[in-house]
């Protein structure tokens, strides 16, 4: 299939970027979106152009590195799918596809489609951990966890920290990411000692990083490649209220 892509090209963080159109010919419908960009980059290199920079790592939908807004939707048109798992068969011959980086003040563009997601690391550093004794791993059944809590904690823990929630949010808020981490650790017995400080500190780190505020629009959950449910934000709000009450 032959398509055209309009890609955001930005040489560096300090320079202005713009959308540039490229034609890509004879792409297999079974190619992934990233493979299509690989093919395009090979031809750009042969022509002596600078290849398009984009983040990728595992290419099997679990690492959270790929980060592209495709036709205005983070990770493209398929639900619960990362860009690397998106295949060209979901597009039609002759399509013009717009490819942009995550757009958020907290995620500055490094080059082309690559953004700096250090802001997420800062949120994790603020409270995304538990205090655990080191040494040999404890027995798996040493601390019983109710099945319901374990399931919900696991669902929250599937967040791969890609940042699609921020890219999609009309407010540029990272609330779904933070909520997933707060729920994941807050539901487990091991996460209780820091439960109050975690939610307060992570929200503070999120605000300091320049993310917007949550208005419960729900865009985040719609584009999340792992389908993190929106109601986790309610759990965060509840934890936050309790933490504020306990701290007084």
């Amino acid at each position: 299939m032959d398509i055209k892509v309009r890609v955001w090209r930005q040489p560096s963080a300090d320079e202005a970027g713009k959308m540039v159109t490229y034609g890509v010919k004879d792409i297999s419908p079974d190619a992934s979106f990233l493979e299509m960009l690989d093919v395009l980059n090979e031809s750009l290199i042969l022509e002596g152009d600078d290849p398009i920079a984009f983040d990728h790592d595992c290419r099997e939908g679990i690492c959270g590195a790929c980060s592209m807004v495709i036709d205005g939707v983070a990770h493209g048109p398929e639900k619960a799918t990362t860009t690397c798992q998106l295949h060209m068969r979901h597009f039609s011959d002759g399509d013009v596809i717009d490819v942009e980086p995550w757009r958020a003040a907290a995620f500055p563009v490094i080059k082309d489609l690559v953004v700096d997601r250090t802001a997420f690391d800062k949120i994790i550093q603020a409270g995304g951990y538990i205090t655990a004794p080191t040494g040999t791993a404890p027995d798996a059944h040493a601390t019983p966890v109710p099945k319901k809590d374990a399931d919900l904690a696991f669902e929250a823990a599937t967040c791969i920290g890609c940042g699609a929630c921020v890219a999609a949010c009309p407010n540029g808020s990272s609330m779904l990411f933070t909520a997933a981490k707060v729920a994941h650790l807050g539901l487990m017995p091991q996460g209780q000692p820091e439960r109050d400080t975690r939610v307060i500190d992570m929200l503070q780190a999120q605000d300091d990083a320049g993310f917007g505020g949550c208005t419960n629009m729900g865009e985040c959950s719609q584009v999340c490649p792992k389908g993190i449910p929106l109601h986790l934000i309610g759990r965060l709000n509840s934890d936050y209220r309790k933490a504020l009450r306990n701290s007084n």
Binding site: M19, G172, N216, L230, H231
Partner: protein, 210 residues
């Protein structure tokens, strides 16, 4: 947003119930309007309660607008470079129009106070004649006023459809089932308010109240 919003929604329900008294006739409605001025007497002097409530509502409105402005400014700062290609937000129309819808509602509230509280813009404009003021206001010849009320009330409905459930979420609602219930309740409460409020101008337009 949630705290001030809930206060304002509670007021909207009280206000709607008062409005519906117009269907019991001129005397009942005017008597009700007069009673509003005497709530709290003889403990409080006449109209004191009314002014306390007005003060409280004003504070709630100012707080609500302040919080909304802070959120809007933060949102703008959080995305300095806009998307070149941005389809409509997948969430509800109501969620998408909260900010501009809120501005429309504010303009409406200002007009509404000048129209039916201070009576500055009211065609009858006599204090104490609440029933006549309403009946003359929505007379068929003033269809444009009625139309403006209809548009504004529908805007309020949309605002609350997202606002009520969003407030519940802010206060900590956190289950999938609860989310469905909250969304449906928000829709139902908004519909009740819209129908309740629109029934009065419609009743005047079709001559049920005149």
């Amino acid at each position: 947003m949630a705290g001030t919003g809930i206060l304002l929604v509670l007021f909207l329900f009280a206000h709607m119930i008062g409005n519906l008294k117009i269907f019991f006739g001129e005397e009942t409605f005017d008597h009700y309007a007069h009673w509003l001025r005497t709530i709290g007497t003889p403990l409080l002097p006449d109209e004191w309660y009314l002014w306390i409530q007005r003060g409280g509502l004003t504070l709630a409105v100012v707080g609500h607008i302040y919080a909304a402005t802070v959120l809007a400014i933060r949102a703008r700062k959080a995305r300095p470079v806009k998307y070149a290609h941005r389809p409509k937000v997948q969430g509800s129309y109501a969620a998408r129009t909260m900010r501009w819808g809120g501005v429309i509602v504010l303009l409406f509230v200002i007009y509404h106070i000048l129209d039916l509280t201070t009576l500055t813009l009211n065609p009858n404009g006599v204090h104490g004649e609440a029933y006549r003021n309403v009946a003359e206001d929505f007379a068929p010849g003033r269809w444009y006023v009625t139309l403006f009320y209809v548009v504004s009330i529908v805007a309020v409905g949309f605002h609350l459809r997202h606002g009520i459930w969003s407030a519940v979420r802010t206060l900590g609602q956190q289950t999938q089932r609860g989310e469905r219930i909250a969304r449906l309740s928000a829709l139902a409460l908004s519909l009740v308010l819209v129908v309740g409020y629109l029934s009065v101008p419609f009743a005047v337009t079709i001559g049920l109240v005149d």
